[in-house]
């Protein structure tokens, strides 16, 4: 029912949604183009640079046609680090949320470590893992870990008590309760954690790749800055923005499909 209502609004909504970016682009263009000493390159220059980074044929320098390599390097770290974080945080969160002993054992320590910003781990990570992609991977892991963990704990702990009673009176055994009640009831929270975690993985990857990494979007942004190739810096930023956005859209689409039943969703 809401789908048809929404469809009628799509043109208006789409128009409003692109209004702000277009305005920014216009402002950007008129404040930068034609000025020799502008620190920020005009949008057209950035667009040309991005094209050359992606497909080559314009400048044919060291950076031409390298975008895919850098993107793939970053993607593998983002999704690899995120997948590892989810693989650890999901079961751990379920255990902490549902098993008293595990909660008492691990929760205080995890809460104590939590206020340390992920970026503050970078120097230590470089000492332990060396300067290079492994530190970046670790940082992504850490960045995605806490959102997934905390939302999983919250989800499995906040199942409405009535649902346990309903399941018990319908004949669900205590061992089966976790799969039949806790997990589906916690799914919206778990999904929120996954979405936040993946978003955070994209934030952290740039920081992770900024020192001592040869390939990756964070790496070329940092390298181009040193060479004063601001067009490349901005091309890299835009690429990360678009990838992060698409990544979130995919997660949301999966969420809307899995959580159709949830009135707070979709």
């Amino acid at each position: 029912m809401s789908a048809t209502a929404a469809r009628g609004f799509v043109p208006r909504q789409a128009l409003l949604a692109i209004a702000a970016p277009v305005l920014v682009l216009v402002l950007w263009h008129f404040t930068t183009s034609g000025r020799t000493y502008s620190l920020i390159p005009p949008p057209l220059e950035v667009a040309k640079q991005w094209w050359d980074l992606a497909f080559g044929g314009l400048y044919d320098d060291l950076y031409s046609r390298t975008l895919l390599t850098h993107t793939l390097a970053s993607l593998s770290r983002v999704y690899g680090g995120f997948a590892l974080a989810a693989a650890v945080a999901l079961p751990l969160g379920m255990l902490i949320g549902r098993v008293r002993v595990v909660r008492d054992l691990l929760d205080p320590t995890l809460q104590l470590l939590r206020p340390i910003p992920v970026t503050a781990w970078l120097p230590l990570a470089m000492i332990v893992f060396g300067i290079g992609p492994r530190s970046a991977f670790f940082l992504v892991f850490l960045g995605a870990f806490y959102p997934v963990l905390l939302n999983t704990i919250f989800g499995v702990r906040n199942v409405e008590g009535r649902l346990f009673e309903a399941a018990a009176m319908l004949g669900v055994s205590p061992q089966a309760t976790f799969w039949k009640v806790v997990l589906p009831a916690a799914l919206p929270s778990i999904f929120t954690g996954i979405r936040l975690g993946l978003g955070f993985a994209w934030v952290v990857i740039v920081v992770g790749e900024m020192t001592g990494v040869q390939t990756g979007l964070g790496a070329i942004i940092m390298e181009a800055r040193q060479l004063s190739r601001t067009e490349i810096v901005m091309s890299g930023m835009i690429t990360i923005g678009v990838l992060g956005f698409l990544s979130d859209q995919v997660v949301q689409m999966i969420g809307n499909r899995l959580l159709r039943w949830n009135p707070q969703h979709g």
Binding site: R162, A168, M169, L170, G171, V172, S173, A185
Partner: protein, 254 residues
């Protein structure tokens, strides 16, 4: 009536106490009653009279502090499918459709998928929700949700249906319809029903027997047989007479 058969349910000097910090509150004190197969009884009384506590002990959600509670002569254990509960707040699984909620019990008890689905279809029809089989709970009205809750208990072969003020949150019109539908289902299936309410009219309309309870401490004060022929008419003089009698027993607050 003579009682040649063993009762489906028997409470003997059944008591329940709760500790509130240093204080102990007697929710139910030495309750005695029996319930026979196919009977429809209503527990009625003011809040704090222990009617919900008694129902929850039958459901296995609370354990007796003293006394015995026997089903078919054996002590009642934890919650189980033989005693199906209909909660006032429905307690439906929000991630399952109407059909999924009703098939949940049979599946939990290891019935094959196809059989559970067929059972669900049958009871969706019983409660008149065929058009909503694929809807999720949040898309349903309160009355429809309560129909699902009733259907899922019926689909699970409950021997006793426990209803905790099931129509208390519904509007008057929906409540009347559901009372009628419940009576129809009961007449067809000859279920045994314990129905908790604080509405005298609802109790007289539905029950074979009305168990009247009082508070502080929660206890049973009367066990009244309602011999009015069915269908019952709340505007009838005999109905009114009963209403006055029960109202007096409840202290005239109703």
């Amino acid at each position: 009536m003579a009682e040649p058969t063993i009762p489906i349910l028997a409470a003997e000097r059944l008591s329940k106490r709760f500790a509130f910090g240093a204080e102990t509150i007697t929710a139910l004190s030495e309750a005695d009653f029996t319930l026979h197969r196919g009977e429809f009884i209503c527990l009625i009384g003011p809040s704090g009279c222990g009617k919900s506590t008694l129902l929850r002990m039958v459901g296995g959600f609370e354990t007796p502090s003293e006394g015995r509670l026997l089903m078919w002569g054996k002590p009642v254990g934890g919650p189980g499918p033989d005693r199906g509960m209909v909660f006032q707040d429905y307690g439906l699984f929000p991630w399952l459709t109407v059909a999924g909620n009703i098939a949940f019990g049979p599946l939990a008890r290891g019935r094959p998928k196809a059989e559970a689905a067929a059972t669900a279809r049958r009871f969706i029809e019983t409660v008149g929700l065929t058009r909503f089989a694929d809807a999720y709970p949040h898309q349903l009205s309160g009355g429809m949700k309560q129909r699902v809750a009733i259907a899922r208990v019926l689909a699970n072969d409950a021997e006793i249906v426990l209803m905790d003020e099931p129509f208390g949150a519904l509007d008057a019109f929906t409540r009347e319809r559901l009372q009628q539908e419940l009576l129809d289902i009961w007449a067809r299936t000859k279920l045994t029903v314990i129905f908790v309410t604080h509405a005298i009219e609802e109790a007289i309309l539905l029950a074979d027997r009305v168990v009247v309870m009082a508070a502080a401490p929660g206890r049973i004060v009367a066990d009244e047989r309602i011999d009015l022929p069915r269908p019952r008419d709340p505007t009838e003089p005999a109905f009114n007479l009963l209403r006055r009698r029960l109202s007096a027993m409840l202290g005239g607050h109703h």
